[in-house]
Symmetry: C2
């Protein structure tokens, strides 16, 4: 047994405040013990019926509702610590829970009950020439680790999605939400167990320092997949250091391309919605590309609308020539084309044609969501065929790349890699498969 | 431009022989140039029709047939080098090409033409409540790297499967087959280009030392997936060091469990076929588990048959008690239960019941193929539900885990991981997907 080391929270030290005992380092042994405990839990979860899993989800939701005041009290500690540390108000807001937000988390678990259980679905089935019956069935992945930042609702969402898809969850939340996460996981685990889930079905990974993530992502053989959700720094660290298979999520340098044949009013609406609806999320647009043939009319209108909506336009020289110097418009620098602003900023360029737009997106995009606005079927076909991204939108806002919008009912993140899952990941994306081959004594020829 | 360093082949130095210029180190820059060249090739390949890809496959097959003598001459250099180095005869045999083997490689490419092209298949499609049309379509992965050992036929198989599935191939063969692989890839690339494939559709990765693999597996962003095919050492090195997503293949510590209700004659046939058909392949059985209720009759018969077939039995104490000391039977040591012998050896244990068999497999199996022989539906259901492996066989030989046997027509390897692909990987397993969302100007509400 290793004695945990208590470390202070990052940020300015407020010596008047007590050190938060939940913020601590964890040894590799502690993290691995957690992962080891998850394995028999995963085996048991894989055998549960949908009925049993749904009963556990309802019990977990009821427990969140019953114990809401404990959750809010713990959250207050996190919020106060963040405020003492001088955390930005927008981040404090993401951290803060309210009775309505607790209710939304509980309702999220209830909503999972209605979704079809992917486990056991037959993906392929046939009788082979030698009479063997071959079926490929969905099975849970096993032990799923999720490493995430800030928002405590991810704790509940991820636990619920893991349980419904038959996986054991290893949750590694951020230091800033340590108190909230500890209470939430204790409530979920206790309620789950009382409803028949195996011990260790849902665990909070100990440790709030980077080392605990390192221990987790090198636990190959114990952890089946690790999903980092958060900023580019976290995701890169996991991708580069993990020996456990990773699903990369969420970095979105998304483009809106306004083609020569675009309806200008539709293009403006899609542009504004893609940029300003929620600038801080990964499906927000970060660059506008305008076909040269319509730049003279569309660019001034677009810049006017963007600046009017409070957006700073990072303009290339062609755009600057068209709109002239004005408030809200700055010259674009090279780095702007590769920047996920996540703010009310957008890079704007004029491109010669669709080929140039596709080429620009290929060089600067992150493979998340790319949109074209066009009335031309030829352009739509070329753009959707040639742009390599998780989602390609034709005459629709980039904001639609979302598990809920796609009808999946739940989302564990948006994959921007090509292996295993691409785009919004729902329950099916947390499964693997198994071939079951049933015979009557068949053996294989020597050849 | 970096001047390649010529290094001698590994193994005993035969000073009378000329140094093979193909055996050399490659700089990181050379390997990355190769990967960079593959990216536009992948973009072009993704746009080719099935007709165009099939024409290229036929041209490649024709070129192999036309230039067979060049292939055999190059292969002779590899074989002679291996023999000079004192390589085991079985490995030299795997390396050696004959006119019949060249013809089989060419025919393998022709056979790919008949297989359905996975690219463009619609995986999901629906109209969302807001009228957006959502389709999820298969697209190629992009740039696929395959790192493999010994057998030059993998060069042709992998290139053909990559082309058919619309991917650019980066082939990194072993030093032992360097001359054969160089000629094969030159023939395939030249024929492919003349039939309309993009430049760099099929490339041999320079370098035959471990560093060239390291450069390849850290080329994240340039290479979409790396598939190691070969021994456990190679696979572990790639898994542990790769930042490119990996598909782990091929290590198979496969079990045959003979249940209390098994037909003994069927069990013997399945056991012998699983163990002795081709002991060196990953789907061969390495451990026999016998239910205690039938051990007294089945174990002596099984040991007699195994020893009669030239197999060395590594027996646990219960088995030793039943069969007594004899030639061909040695006491099992702990490591035997975790050993992929790949030879005429098998570990044999008596287990209390099906639960104990499942538990043993869970602790020692590698998730490849596990078989039960039973007449009991209850046992078959329990075994297939609870054993966690790519393939679970009921009353059939473990030897059936194979892309050809499963009807996939082609196989790039057998995945033993759960992410992306599990079990034999055919053309579809070399694809990803893309969501195409088509609207009429839809924007998303603020909430």
């Amino acid at each position: 047994m290793v004695t945990p080391t208590v470390v202070p929270a990052t940020g300015p030290v407020d010596t008047g405040a007590p050190v938060e005992p939940l913020l601590r380092t964890a040894s590799g042994a502690e993290v691995l013990d957690c992962a080891r405990a998850a394995r028999p839990a995963a085996r048991a979860l894989a055998q549960l019926t949908s009925t049993a899993k749904n009963a556990a989800l309802l019990a977990m939701a009821a427990a969140l509702r019953e114990r809401g005041s404990e959750i809010l009290a713990a959250n207050t500690r996190d919020v106060e610590r963040a405020e003492r540390a001088g955390t930005a108000a927008s981040l404090v807001d993401r951290l803060r829970l309210t009775p309505a937000r607790v209710e939304a988390m509980a309702q999220g678990l209830v909503d999972l009950v209605a979704l079809p259980d992917p486990v056991g679905t037959v993906l392929r089935g046939s009788v082979l020439p030698n009479g063997l019956q071959l079926t490929q069935v969905r099975v849970p992945l096993g032990v799923v680790a999720i490493v995430y930042e800030a928002r405590p609702n991810v704790t509940v969402d991820a636990a619920g999605i893991a349980v419904k898809s038959g996986n054991a969850a290893l949750l590694r939340g951020s230091a800033s939400a340590a108190a909230s996460n500890a209470v939430l996981v204790e409530i979920l685990a206790t309620a789950g167990r009382s409803a028949g889930l195996p011990d260790a079905a849902v665990q909070l990974v100990p440790g709030t320092d980077r080392d605990s993530v390192t221990h987790l992502m090198t636990a190959r053989g114990l952890v089946d997949v690790i999903i980092p959700r958060g900023g580019a720094g976290l995701i890169q660290a996991v991708v580069n250091g993990s020996t456990v298979p990773v699903i990369e999520t969420g970095v979105g340098n998304c483009h809106v391309f306004v083609d020569a044949d675009a309806d200008p009013a539709m293009a403006l609406e899609i542009l504004l919605n893609s940029k300003t609806r929620r600038p801080s999320v990964c499906n927000a647009a970060e660059t506008l590309l305008v076909h040269a043939d319509v730049a003279r009319s569309f660019v001034p209108a677009a810049v006017r609308a963007l600046v009017g909506a409070g957006v700073t336009v990072h303009a290339d020289t062609a755009v600057l020539d068209l709109v002239g110097p004005q408030d809200g418009v700055v010259p674009a620098v090279d780095a702007d084309w590769d920047t996920e602003f996540l703010s009310l900023d957008i890079a704007v360029a004029v491109v010669a044609d669709l080929d140039a737009a596709v080429e620009h997106i290929g060089r600067h995009g992150t493979g998340h969501t790319e949109a074209i606005v066009t009335g031309s079927l030829t352009s739509a076909q070329a753009f959707t065929a040639r742009v390599d991204a998780a989602a390609v939108m034709v005459n629709a806002s980039t904001a639609f790349t979302d598990g809920g919008e796609f009808g999946f009912g739940a989302e564990i993140g948006i994959s921007t890699q090509k292996l295993h899952a691409r785009g919004p990941m729902g329950l099916a994306e947390l499964t693997s498969s198994k071939y079951v081959v049933t015979g009557t004594g068949q053996t294989r020829d020597a050849s």
